[in-house]
């Protein structure tokens, strides 16, 4: 780590500590936790863009897949739903499998000219066959106590299990999408991934039997204790007293946040270790070569397509893990909250502001942008009330401005983003490109 990195990280720490003193430690750690999650997402995007130059604007979709996995793993199964429709669901899965097998089999053995029509016919037949079982099944599931459940529920496992699984699911999604779209370049890939991520969200929104759709899944079990339980437990009270806590409920919620913080930091550290190792090894060099000039890289024997797919999948997996972490922390899955501005563009801002191609930069970017996203609001309120103070209570302009204080949030976000980018146009911690890779220097 260079001096600059240390300095910037130190500053970020100081700012969070200042928040701890000025606002409260609960706020500080609340922000910190989401900073870490944002940092993980930023790492994922950085792998794709910073390492390989893949313009993935579908981050939102993979985050959502992660979130969905958290629900499917951790929520208790809805017994009645399974009882009512388990058979039909199994049958539709079977017909799905049968369709796939039939298509693959047919494509292998049918005359090339007939391939397309046969495939289409088989797919159509499969579609109807699945529909026969699937339609009634979903209707049955969705009609079971729709206000509270109306979906299949999950596997009832500890939510921590969901985190690595979310990585796998997102990786699977990434693989599929990568196979389809990675042939596209630059912005064309961007819009395709954006589109695909919207499709993923649409599925999560409308396939209620699976995800409860827009009715949201709430009350996802936590990996950490509940505050209400803590407040009542002996050991916690004595612990709180030991640290001289005045408000036991404050202490409890702080303790919960700390527990999350520990979990998140562990995940971040593990991902970071893998990411840095990869980047600093010949693999990273190869990825940069591919990014710089894929034709030349191909001529040098690098399998560009496979490598792109590999990094794409890895990046997606990381975003998926972050998505599961976020859903765990929120305690709920709200499909309507997945909008590109928040889950894609904001992450991109993090990566670029931090310095693309540099993992440390991405993490820092995640911290700074999330911090701004949350703190721009009180800062904006404060700013508005300060500048309108001299205008006096009665002034209409002042009233108009104060009423608009909430929108200072946009202004602040914009202004600070522009200012930071002005002073660090290559990002705060730019990719180290002026020297040969670390390994060549050390050897």
């Amino acid at each position: 780590m260079t001096k600059r990195v240390a300095l910037l990280y130190g500053l970020m720490c100081l700012v969070l500590i200042a928040i701890g003193f000025l606002q409260s430690w609960n706020v500080a750690f609340g922000i910190f936790n989401l900073c870490v999650i944002s940092a993980v997402m930023a790492l994922g995007v950085n792998m794709q863009w910073g390492y390989a130059g893949l313009f993935n604007v579908g981050v939102m979709g993979f985050t959502a897949l992660g979130g969905l996995t958290a629900v499917l793993v951790s929520m208790p199964p809805v017994g009645e739903a399974w009882a009512a429709a388990g058979g039909d669901i199994a049958l539709s899965l079977l017909s799905l499998a049968a369709t796939i097998v039939a298509v693959i089999y047919a494509r292998r053995f049918v005359h090339p000219a007939l391939k397309l029509p046969v495939t289409l016919v088989l797919l159509l037949a499969g579609y109807f066959l699945i529909g026969v079982f699937f339609g009634p099944a979903t209707d049955a599931i969705e009609s079971i106590d729709p206000a509270l459940s109306g979906y299949l529920g999950g596997a009832g496992l500890p939510v921590l299990v969901a985190w690595p699984l979310a990585g796998l699911v997102a990786a699977g999604g990434g693989w599929l999408i990568g196979r389809i779209a990675l042939g596209l370049r630059a912005d064309y890939l961007a819009i395709a991934t954006l589109g695909i991520s919207e499709i993923i969200i649409a599925i999560i929104k409308y396939e209620e039997w699976l995800s409860r759709g827009v009715k949201n899944v709430t009350g996802i079990p936590r990996p950490v204790p509940y505050e209400v339980d803590l407040i009542e437990s002996e050991w916690f009270i004595s612990l709180a007293n030991f640290f001289g806590a005045t408000e036991i409920s404050d202490a409890a919620s702080l303790f919960v946040k700390l527990c999350y913080a520990v979990l998140f930091v562990i995940v971040l550290a593990i991902i970071m270790w893998f990411a840095e190792r990869a980047l600093k090894s010949p693999w990273g060099r190869m990825m940069r070569a591919i990014r710089d000039n894929r034709d030349a890289a191909a001529a040098m024997g690098k399998d560009v397509k496979r490598r792109h797919l590999q990094t794409f999948v890895l990046g997606c997996a990381v975003c998926g893990i972050a998505g599961a972490m976020l859903t765990t922390l929120d305690g709920q899955l709200t499909p309507t909250s997945y909008i590109p501005l928040r889950y894609t563009f904001l992450i991109w801002v993090m990566v670029i502001l931090g310095g693309s191609g540099n993992n440390w930069g991405s993490i820092l970017g995640g911290f700074i942008i999330w911090f701004l996203w949350v703190e721009a609001e009180p800062f904006g309120n404060w700013f508005m009330s300060t500048i309108t103070a001299p205008l006096g209570e009665g002034s209409e302009l002042a009233q108009h401005l104060v009423a608009g204080a909430a929108y200072m949030r946009y202004l602040m976000m914009g202004a600070i983003l522009l200012i930071v980018m002005r002073f660090a146009p290559k990002g705060l911690i730019p990719e180290a490109t002026n020297r040969s890779t670390a390994m060549t220097r050390s050897s």
Binding site: L22, Q23, S24, W25, N26, V27, G30, I31, L34, I37, P146, A147, L148, K205, Y206, G213, V214, K215, N216, T218, G219, Y226, E227, V228, S249, D250, A252, S253, V256, L326, L329, D330, G331, Q332, T334, T336, S337, I339, R342, W373, V374, E377, P378, N381, A403, A405, A406, Y407, R409, Y410
Partner: protein, 379 residues
């Protein structure tokens, strides 16, 4: 003196930015109107000043909403929360902040049926009724008016979906026919596709379970433009002057329902608000006013700003027995409570809280006549 005492802080935690930004602006003003009224009366807990602290729940970003709530509670030290706006954000805040810190939260607008059942340790209330109830009311109205078939569209979130489900179930139980159901996303640029489908399915009326300044409006506009439907059934999210201002008498014959009774509360609030430069009868503005009022009245009744203490007084001040309290009469109510009397807060929504702490949901049926909302009857 009294002024030396600590301020009472109410968190105004609403979706100031994001998809509900335009709904929320007057809501927050409504909520703050009650706060100002109480503060100016100088009667709360021996003359303590009351201030509102705003926080942005963004409506859709659960994480940002939680962060804002955290800040209000642990940094600004609010004594109660008026919010949040949307059911999703409300649930997140409830689980992660309200229960964690033991603070009372009253939502003026989170209407998802799921919130009735959620574990809240007694800290969460809402001045809006659950959507489950409104579905029944609408079914009854349609039945009474002899409308045999209807197309249905809803805003694609927990509110819209929950309400649409409720309407469909209740209406079909009464023998009505829903010809088609199509969700619409708020904030989209065009709604022709939805209208095309709904028009093709037909139906005597179109039920629009959305928001009047969001997709709901777009849907109505597109229907009128193409001549697909000219009569609409408009649940609470669609009832507001903004709609009639915009479409005038083109909507004549359309039916609206929103929480309300024949109590004069709503119009009193409208009057109060018009003095302050906003509309008191915009959606959820009365609910927001009532939420603030309830918080403060309960504190007065309990003689404490401690959530754990005053949470048990909310139902008490909201319901009979006692003197009926209307908007603008908060000073009177504070005085009665200070004197040890009982009140029955009616407020702008004819509030009646039922277990587990939500509005019972008396509804007002309106019809648009000559470009104006006219009250037909109460349910």
């Amino acid at each position: 003196g009294a002024s030396a005492q600590e301020q009472v802080k109410i968190g105004m935690l609403q979706g100031f930015t994001g998809p509900t930004e335009s709904l929320v602006k007057p809501m927050a003003l409504g909520g703050e109107l009650a706060i100002k009224e109480v503060s100016d009366s100088g009667l709360l807990l021996g003359g303590r000043e009351v201030v509102s602290v705003r926080g942005d729940s963004t409506c859709i970003d659960a994480a940002a909403a939680t962060a804002a709530a955290d800040r209000l509670v642990t940094s600004d030290g609010v004594h109660g929360i008026n919010g949040a706006t949307c059911s999703g954000a409300t649930t997140a805040i409830l689980n992660n902040v309200v229960r964690a810190n033991g603070i009372v939260m009253i939502s003026p607008s989170a209407t998802s049926p799921a919130l009735s059942e959620i574990e809240d340790d007694g800290y969460f209330f809402r001045t809006a009724p659950s959507d489950a109830r409104q579905g029944q009311i609408i079914a009854e109205i349609l039945d009474r008016r002899g409308i045999k078939s209807a197309a249905l569209t809803y805003t694609n979130n927990d509110y819209g979906k929950g309400l649409a489900d409720a309407i469909q179930a209740a209406y079909e139980a009464k023998g009505g026919k829903i010809t088609a159901v199509a969700a619409h996303e708020d904030g989209k640029a065009d709604y022709s596709a939805e209208i095309g489908t709904l028009a093709s399915a037909g139906g005597e009326v179109l039920i629009v379970a959305g928001y009047l300044d969001q997709g709901g409006k777009g849907i109505i506009q597109a229907s009128l433009d193409t001549g697909a439907f000219d009569k609409f059934v408009l649940p609470d999210g669609m009832v507001g002057e903004a709609l009639t201002d915009n479409f005038g008498d083109m909507l004549d014959g359309s039916i609206g329902t929103n929480p309300g009774t024949d109590s004069p509360g709503a119009s009193m609030l409208a009057e109060l608000a018009s003095g302050k430069g906003f509309k008191g009868d915009d959606p959820y503005v009365p609910e927001a006013y009532d939420a603030s009022a309830l918080l403060l009245l309960a504190m007065q009744s309990a003689g404490s700003t401690d959530s754990a203490v005053y949470k048990d007084h909310i139902l008490k001040v909201a319901n009979a027995p006692g003197e009926k309290i209307y908007p603008g009469e908060l000073a009177k109510a504070l005085q009665i409570l200070a004197d040890g009397g009982d009140i029955d807060y009616v407020g702008g929504t004819a509030l009646e809280l039922i277990e587990p702490g939500e509005s019972a949901g008396s509804f007002r049926e309106t019809e648009i006549k000559g470009g104006k909302w006219e009250t037909e009857m109460y349910h």
